[in-house]
Amino acid sequence: MPQPHIDVRYVANLARLALDEAEIATFQGQLDAILGYVETLSQADVSGIEPTAHAAAVFGRMRADEPHASLPAAGLLDNAPDQAQSQLRVPKVVADA
């Protein structure tokens, strides 16, 4: 297993979290301690063991293909932080050429 150390600043960026410096410092010690504990997993003999993703896995479940009403757009849009013309409004996503 790798050494238990998270590059908190790098991973927070992956997770789209703008942490401040104090948070980074606090989380660094806490997360390294947690990862150090998680290292105990390296002692388990898992050779040839299949992973479990779900405790009661079911696959290929299909519901009946029948038309039904969707949730009303108005109620959903009421929860949006910013909306206009029945659409979600966001800052410009595509940069100028």
Partner: protein, 467 residues
């Protein structure tokens, strides 16, 4: 008062659903400022529904408090988080709410919780502190702390919670009420705000095992809106409830009775085991050899799933958005930074890390393999016993604030409840007396009973005998 007693009073005309809601509102006004279990409640709506309640239905006119991560149309659903606290209103009913309404129940009250169900004390709620009704300086447990506290305090008759690693059972234990985590796939998760999708289950917190059975009866069963919810038929959970434990084989896993258990907890759990033996159960020593890996396994898998599930909170479609972001990346990063509390951020970072390139195999894949070993432990054990007995938590409720800077220490207190979620088993916490602890004279202790997957009928039968 039990559901059956309340129904009897309705039928005899001694009270009405409207009077019950009004009485609860009075209890909330009188006591909830001290306990802090309720985040909100809508008296007007509940009274209107109560006024037309159909008393012939299984839960006709029965008010039920709802953990604030289960969507009920038009009501808040804060998940104990600033990111949903500002203006979110549920645009639909969760399947459990739809089923409860169809059975005549009245959802009343939104209950405090650890933010996004991440915690074991309800101290991680960004919105308010919930205090133990048995001692206001102590935690209620978590994450379904508001639900447990209100049932214990008499400000709710029954409640729904959710359990990802013990979040129904542990607060039930700390507050002295019954808390049932159904088997994975027994109850639809549609409309439950997802924390760790392979572990989450909704279940009841009640004052009696019979009430838990009555609520499970209503909320269990298949749902086309949740493909992980199983088609298995729902048995009658009430008919065999009082069959007793004579001739049943009950397992005591040695790994759950080792060092680190408070002596008072051990004494009360052993007394509960002796009581079941006295009723004719055969007590069998067993081993769940991979128990020591449960905490590490859980704290890889649950944060991994959470980091993915919580990516939906991005300030676009619902929830908090930062003021005047310069660009879309700033919108995402600042909205999440401002909206999430520290425990949620820790778990998102941990989960993102264990899923990231170069670490996936060492952490996430390995944890899933160990999860298989833990699941097999239970499968083997249930080859020889009908149910497993253990403590719910190593100690009674601790004081508020103790583990604020030490999340790992807090995680370790989940040792006895996590494995049932990893294995998909059903499990219940039943009060088994009180003990002196850490300066308090009498704090509740819970007996955990774990049953095989879809073994709720057997589980409830053993729980009823232990009650």
């Amino acid at each position: 008062m039990s559901i059956s007693e309340l129904k009897k009073q309705f039928i005899e005309g001694r009270t009405t659903p409207v009077a019950v809601i009004n009485r609860l509102a009075g209890e909330i006004s009188a006591r909830d400022a001290r306990t802090g279990a309720y985040l909100s409640h809508n008296l007007e709506t509940a009274l209107a529904v109560a006024g037309r309640a159909d008393l012939s239905l299984p839960l006709g006119g029965v008010p039920i408090a709802i953990k604030d991560n289960i969507n009920a149309l038009g009501q808040p659903c804060t998940c104990g988080s600033r990111i949903l606290a500002e203006n979110y209103r549920a645009p639909y009913d969760a399947t459990v709410i739809r089923k409860l309404r169809a059975a005549g129940a009245i959802p009343f009250g939104r209950m405090n919780m650890d933010e996004f169900a991440m915690g074991s004390s309800t101290e991680n709620s960004a919105l308010q502190t919930t205090r133990n009704p048995h001692d206001p300086e102590r935690i209620v447990g978590g994450s379904s702390g508001g639900s447990a506290a209100a049932v214990a305090d008499g400000t709710a008759l029954v409640a729904l919670g959710s359990d990802t690693g013990g979040s129904i059972r542990q607060p039930a234990s700390h507050c002295g009420v019954v808390g049932l985590k159904p088997s994975y796939g027994r109850v639809s998760r549609y409309g439950l705000v997802a924390f760790a999708s392979s572990l989450d289950q909704i279940g009841p917190l009640t004052r009696s095992v019979e009430d838990a059975a009555r609520i499970l009866q209503v909320i269990a069963g298949p749902d086309p809106a949740d493909s992980t919810c199983l088609d298995a038929p729902v048995p009658d959970y009430l008919s065999g409830l009082n069959d007793g434990v004579k001739g049943l084989r009950l397992g005591l896993p040695k790994e759950y009775f080792g060092d680190g258990i408070d002596p008072g907890v051990r004494r009360q759990v052993e007394a509960a085991v002796a009581k079941l033996a006295g009723q004719g159960a055969e007590i069998i020593d067993i081993s769940l050899p991979h128990t020591g890996y449960a905490v590490a396994t859980y704290y890889v898998i649950a944060p991994a799933e959470a980091s993915s599930n919580l990516s939906r909170f991005d300030g676009i479609r619902y929830g908090h958005r930062t003021a005047s972001p310069a660009d879309i990346d700033t919108l995402y990063q600042r909205s999440r930074e401002e909206g999430f509390g520290p425990e949620v951020k820790r778990r998102i970072i941990l989960g993102t890390y264990v899923l990231s390139s170069g670490y996936y195999d060492a952490y996430y894949h390995r944890a899933q393999q160990v999860r298989t070993l833990i699941r097999r432990d239970f499968e083997q054990a249930f080859g020889g016993v009908d149910a497993i007995l253990s403590p719910v938590a190593p100690t009674p409720a601790r004081k508020l604030g103790v583990n604020a800077e030490d999340p790992l220490q807090e995680y370790l207190s989940d040792i006895f409840t996590l494995a049932a979620n990893l294995a998909g088993a059903c499990a219940i916490s039943v009060p088994c007396g009180t003990t002196a602890f850490d300066g308090a004279a009498a704090l509740p202790v819970g007996l955990q009973i774990i049953g095989p997957h879809l073994g709720e009928a057997m589980l409830l039968r053993v729980a009823r005998a232990a009650e």
